[in-house]
Symmetry: C2
Subunit: 330 residues, 2 copies
């Protein structure tokens, strides 16, 4: 839920004058996206109504990364993926400033994100992820994953420091510390482990970032964690985000559909499959750690809804006890 | 900023099946409105796209009042006012249940609400308010103003009790208590004071409830404080909401434009004009009291942004020292 920054009328008018998208006819704050301020923007150009999303990038996005993100979205849209297409101003630049923040206008996508995931969502989701990977392979610039494996130990240490001596935490942090040791020693491409295919990944493809229409994926949004990393790690993030119910129970059928959908476009190699338990544990670790850090460092009742880290600790336990990649079906 | 309730996909599907508005193609939470949850709903019907707002009524709205509110909006829209038109389901009912809450679909209105009020907004706003009053005169059902003068003393007492012995408050509460005595003894229709014309009023026509397009009012929204009360009191609420800048300075020219716009549609009687200082002081009192009550009873950093009551205490002081209705121009 997010409008962190209000935009003055005159500022908005001046900003839009730099575009050739017609005349503003509606402007509403959108209560979605946690990191940035988003507005629905409707324009009229010679009688044709068009909708856009105006995003103001707030402090959690590094402005230096924005050209990479917007370039990636433009690349994917050009390759036929349904994702927000950055709209350039009259000078050709899509990345601009508004209300003291970096800002961009992108196209509006139809569809509804699933509040509850069903089996039927999982194959289309998997296929959409694979299409993203395939389309991304021709986007040459790279961006390191700032929340990848090398970041997890420092994040755990920072969490431990913030937690102080609060009673509930030492046991949990001990558990994460031990799990992290195992995950990092098994991680592909390190410690003599086989490396896996790299490429552009979304890295945050949760249900609220995927719109569906008539049972098909109609749009992928929120590319602001995208980066260059193991493609199968992106699959592992989706297995975590789409294949467990609210009570933390794993749905093997959902995972099977997700992998079938993915492999209908891009088959996983035997090494990628074999690494799934470790990749899934790593993905669960990444979200457990950022949620735990935010939980401890966000005052209760603050504007941002805190997400419970324990849902990802439960997933982590599941993956660490998984008996090989067969646990994920297939 | 408001999505307090999430709606399950299947619930939404079942809910929409009771309407004849076509097929859902987009659904986004709207970060506007403080009291309720609002969603942008787009449908496609035989190739024609239409936009609606879906509102879930949260706990601050009394469900028993909803038929009156929706009936009033339908009446105003039928009379040609640009306000949300409640959309009836196939059974003819506009008021339904969704996610355990009363819910309604209304039409989407174009326009942008002014983040900063300028002189040019004030005459169109005044005229729109007068049109609302004229159109409302043929809506027969009445609804008492639950935040009218009779509610102010109990609200002040409740505020005093919640405030406890916090240092800053006794002086402020003493000031409000004294001002309230004067306002209530001067209030039209009481204590031998002349009564004024009653009718249906909006009672909350702040800038974020008024959309403009090309310098004209394109829509009035948020009728959930509307009630039957003195028409000139609604003018007084707008004088408070539109004619002071962020530093609390009064703009007599804004007030003059607002009154000119209003009187271009519905002239004020001499008695209504003469009562403006008391009505304006009462309106300032009403918003000072509800904001002060919320300020004291909302924990710092809660999800709801607290509005500073002092802006309305300043306005109250201004109105109490106003040298007659000439202070408001005209």
């Amino acid at each position: 839920m997010a409008v962190y920054t209000e935009i003055e009328d005159e500022e908005l008018e001046r900003f839009l004058a730099d575009y050739d998208i017609g005349h503003l006819t509606a402007f509403r704050g959108i209560a979605e996206g946690v990191e940035n301020s988003n507005f629905l923007l409707r324009t009229d150009k010679a009688g044709v109504a068009s909708d856009f999303i105006l995003t103001l990038y707030e402090k959690r996005v590094n402005p230096d990364d924005l050209p990479w993100f917007l370039g990636f979205m433009r690349h994917l849209a050009t390759e036929g993926l349904s994702c927000p297409l950055p709209v350039a101003g009259k000078d050709g630049n899509a990345l601009r400033m508004l209300a003291g923040r970096p800002a961009a206008i992108t196209t509006f996508l139809s569809g509804v994100w699933p509040r509850h995931v069903h089996e039927a969502h999982c194959a289309p989701l998997g296929a959409a992820l694979a299409r993203l990977h395939v389309a991304g392979s021709s986007y040459a610039p790279t961006r390191a994953n700032s929340l990848g494996p090398h970041a997890w130990r420092p994040l755990l240490n920072a969490t431990q420091q913030s937690a102080g001596s609060e009673e509930a935490f030492p046991a949990l942090i001990g558990e994460l510390d031990q799990a992290l040791g195992r995950i990092l020693s098994d991680w592909p491409g390190t410690n003599g482990q086989k490396d896996l295919p790299h490429g552009q990944i979304h890295a945050d493809l949760f249900p609220d970032n995927v719109f569906f229409l008539d049972g098909k994926v109609s749009g992928l949004i929120d590319f602001y964690f995208a980066c260059t990393d193991l493609l199968a790690y992106d699959v592992a993030i989706c297995l975590n985000a789409w294949c467990f119910d609210d009570d933390g129970a794993f749905h093997p059928v959902f995972a099977q559909r997700l992998l079938e959908g993915y492999e209908s476009i891009r088959p996983l190699s035997a090494d990628e499959r074999a690494a799934l338990p470790t990749l899934c544990a790593g993905a669960a670790m990444r979200f457990a750690l950022t949620r735990l850090y935010d939980w401890i460092n966000t005052p209760a009742g603050a504007m941002v809804t805190r997400k419970n880290p324990m849902a990802y600790v439960q997933r982590l336990r599941f993956h660490l006890s998984a008996a090989g990649s067969e646990a994920y079906g297939g």
